[in-house]
Symmetry: C2
Subunit: 141 residues, 2 copies
């Protein structure tokens, strides 16, 4: 956990940026939360522990993390952009339209087929998002 933050701070310094206490705190909270947070969500979490940190700093920190590849933004269709840590393996999402919960899955065969489709269309894949919307186990009860 600390190693990751160290690595990020190092990368920041190497790219001519400064490593600030404030940003470090935001990064800490982000990685400790885990989930699929909107800027607003993370801001609320940060505010609890560090009341002096402002919304814009949280917003900018997420942008920085995204640029460095440590966070990924994802649009679940609820109006606000969510961010998740990009430390784990690539995965796709099952999004419950009732409770809003987001589940993750990884299906290698789908990945393979996507590459196939891309090749057929002479398309060079940079990224992809697969969102399956529906009703989760809990909400079906």
């Amino acid at each position: 956990m600390d190693e990751i933050i160290e690595r990020i701070e190092k990368e920041l310094r190497e790219s001519g940026k400064k490593s600030s206490r404030t940003r470090r705190k935001v990064i800490e909270v982000f990685f400790s939360c885990g989930g699929h947070l909107s800027v607003e969500d993370l801001y609320r979490e940060v505010k609890q522990r560090y009341p002096d940190i402002g919304y814009v700093t949280v917003y900018r920190t997420l942008k920085v993390l995204e640029e460095l590849g440590y966070a990924t933004s994802l649009d679940v269709g609820d109006g606000s952009t969510r961010f998740e840590t990009a430390l784990r393996q690539h995965h796709d999402h099952l999004i419950c339209t009732v409770c809003g919960r987001i589940y993750e899955f990884f299906e290698p065969e789908i990945e393979v087929l996507q590459n196939l489709v891309a090749r057929k269309n002479d398309f060079r894949i940079l990224d992809h998002t697969l969102h399956i919307f529906g009703i989760c186990k809990e909400c079906q009860k």
Copy 2:
């Protein structure tokens, strides 16, 4: 083409709404354009032929079409929501991040695998979106 509009107008009337000349014009333009249009895009198209029609009407007409299932909204990550006609078979998208062009594809095996994933997770699928971002054939040259 006219049949479709007739059908839509009929459905509208049946659900207690009125069929107006203005909305009909917007619907005509929408179906004649085809593509993946933002509200703004369609508004511009409509404005050319019918200068008196306002933005809000275009916006609301797209909403109505979406409710009835004749249009589908899609988020390609460029900040504005796109709408496409929902008359053709379901398909997914290849989105060129260079030129913004959107290509469509349908891969039955991916659909099957998605159902499999859903079943494994006791998830009842309502909808899904698969967007592959990358560089299209044209832009690779």
